[in-house]
Amino acid sequence: MVPAIQVEHVSKDYGALRALDDVSLEIAPGEFFGLLGPNGAGKTTLISILAGLAIATRGRARVTGFDVVGEYRDARRSLGVVPQELVFDPFFTVREALAFQSGYFGLRDNRAWIEEVMHHLDLAGKAETNMRALSGGMKRRVLVAQALVHKPPVIVLDEPTAGVDVELRQALWRFIRRLNRDGHTVVLTTHYLEEAEALCGRIAMLKQGRIVALDTTRNLLRMHSGCYVELRLDPDRLPAALAPLVAQRDEGGYRLALRDYAELERVLAELRTARVEIQEMEVMQPDLEEIFVQIMRKA
């Protein structure tokens, strides 16, 4: 099967700055893929190269098998990009903006789909409103709609929920999940790691232009076999032997980082010996955020 996205040894230099450094990855059709990394890691640069907004210094990229430079017309038809910046054309209404975007992709009578996209993104009531008069959240919805007007098989969302309220975020994810179920490949960059954890089947983590982790979300979560235990003690005094395990000391509680579940037995034994009673105890798996922090620290 032809990969939805194929990136081969791509590097991008801006003068002396290397924004991407020999990045290779492949995304299969129908995947929900997360691209994570701190600011300046190269996520947007990689998306720009796929979209033809930037040209790679070395290496090549393909969208649904089409080279983004040599076969740019087919590659761009296959791709819908929701840009990170809240941009809009102040001369036109929502419906006009969508009709233009659809026409740019060569689609003539696309009204039914435009209406459907507007309906799903709750834009129907604002169809005749000038773009200038929309709130930030509404403008964001239009950006999503503009990326979808030509029914691209691959959808790239560059931080689509930055500064967006809960209601829109949920509506947006419902719609994107539906598109993904219908077979669209979705590539997402976000700073909200709980979103990535809940949505993405596979994740690549970037740091300083390099991929530092690339695996399924499940494997990434398993990669760190350790767990956390949160304790409230009476008296509120941790035995000295357990001090090296403390990850966090809160008011009236401790959070200990354990290598594995077996280490829990040692913690309980130490507490018994010290005659310290457990008032509350919670054992927790690390979430993607913690794993992200660990990977970024190590890389």
């Binding site: 907004l53 017309r73 941009v87 026409g103 992709f105």
Partner: protein, 251 residues
């Protein structure tokens, strides 16, 4: 074709929706020029034999307005899109560089012609002018607006800030259009300035355009057409190349 046509239509509507600013205002400016110059110089200046100065002025003003507005259309559209970031909407679709160029160029020519015709329509009530060779009029209006539209694309691509484009407009376009024989015949200038004027490509646009009305020109209309046509093709190829390499559009 649909993609190209949509981009052209978008560029057309972009100025048409604010036509008070983009069409009516330049027509009014041209009328004010006519009022001030034609009435204050009436009877004192005779540029072409038997032609009233007001009548002489009208085609020049129409052409000057057409040229300035053709330039303004493509340059401001591109520069504003780049500044606000909405240029991304035309960079993501699969336009070829030719489609991209032609859409911006034709919209610029369109605005030039609309404004030029607006000036003629508004002044026809005050000044009677002949129309000897309509085909020359059309040829120079289209070719002249084409040159300025292409130049506008170059300026729009080059400028990333309002003041950069303003410098282009104030220090290049405005002096060249004002000193192109709109208000005078170059034969009324001292020899040095006459010779210098011949290096101004806009002179040939205005002079050839005027020839279509009066059948009288400073330079042969064929030579003017050759110069304007050559400038158009040279600028067009250069602009196409800039778009193809993504100059200041794609990193």
């Amino acid at each position: 074709m649909t993609g190209f046509y949509t981009l052209f239509r978008k560029e057309w509507l972009r100025f048409w929706k604010v036509s008070v600013q983009t069409v009516l205002a330049p027509v009014l400016t041209a009328l004010l020029f006519l009022l001030v110059f034609a009435y204050s110089l009436r009877g004192r200046v005779e540029v072409f034999p038997g032609v009233d100065y007001g009548a002489f002025l009208v085609p020049g003003l129409a052409m000057m307005s057409a040229l300035q507005n053709a330039f303004a259309n493509s340059s401001s559209s591109l520069m504003q899109s780049k500044m606000t970031g909405n240029i991304v909407f035309v960079l993501l679709p699969p336009f070829s560089h030719r489609e991209f160029f032609l859409a911006y160029l034709l919209a610029a020519i369109g605005r030039g012609l609309v404004v030029g015709m607006g000036v003629l329509a508004a002044t026809v009530w005050f000044v009677a002018i002949p129309l000897e060779y309509p085909l020359w009029v059309i040829a120079f209006a289209v070719a002249g607006s084409g040159v300025m539209g292409a130049l506008g694309i170059i300026a729009g691509l080059y400028s990333s800030k309002v003041d950069e484009l303003a410098a282009f407009q104030n220090f290049i376009i405005l002096p060249l259009t004002f000193l192109s024989g709109v208000f005078y015949s170059i034969h009324s200038l001292p020899p040095f300035w006459q010779r210098l004027s011949l290096f101004n490509p806009i002179l040939y646009m205005v002079d050839g355009f005027r020839y279509g009305f009066f059948g009288h020109a400073d330079v042969s209309p064929w030579l003017s057409l050759a110069i304007v046509g050559a400038s158009f093709f040279a600028l067009s190829f250069f602009t196409l190349w800039l778009i193809r390499i993504g100059y200041k559009l794609r990193h």
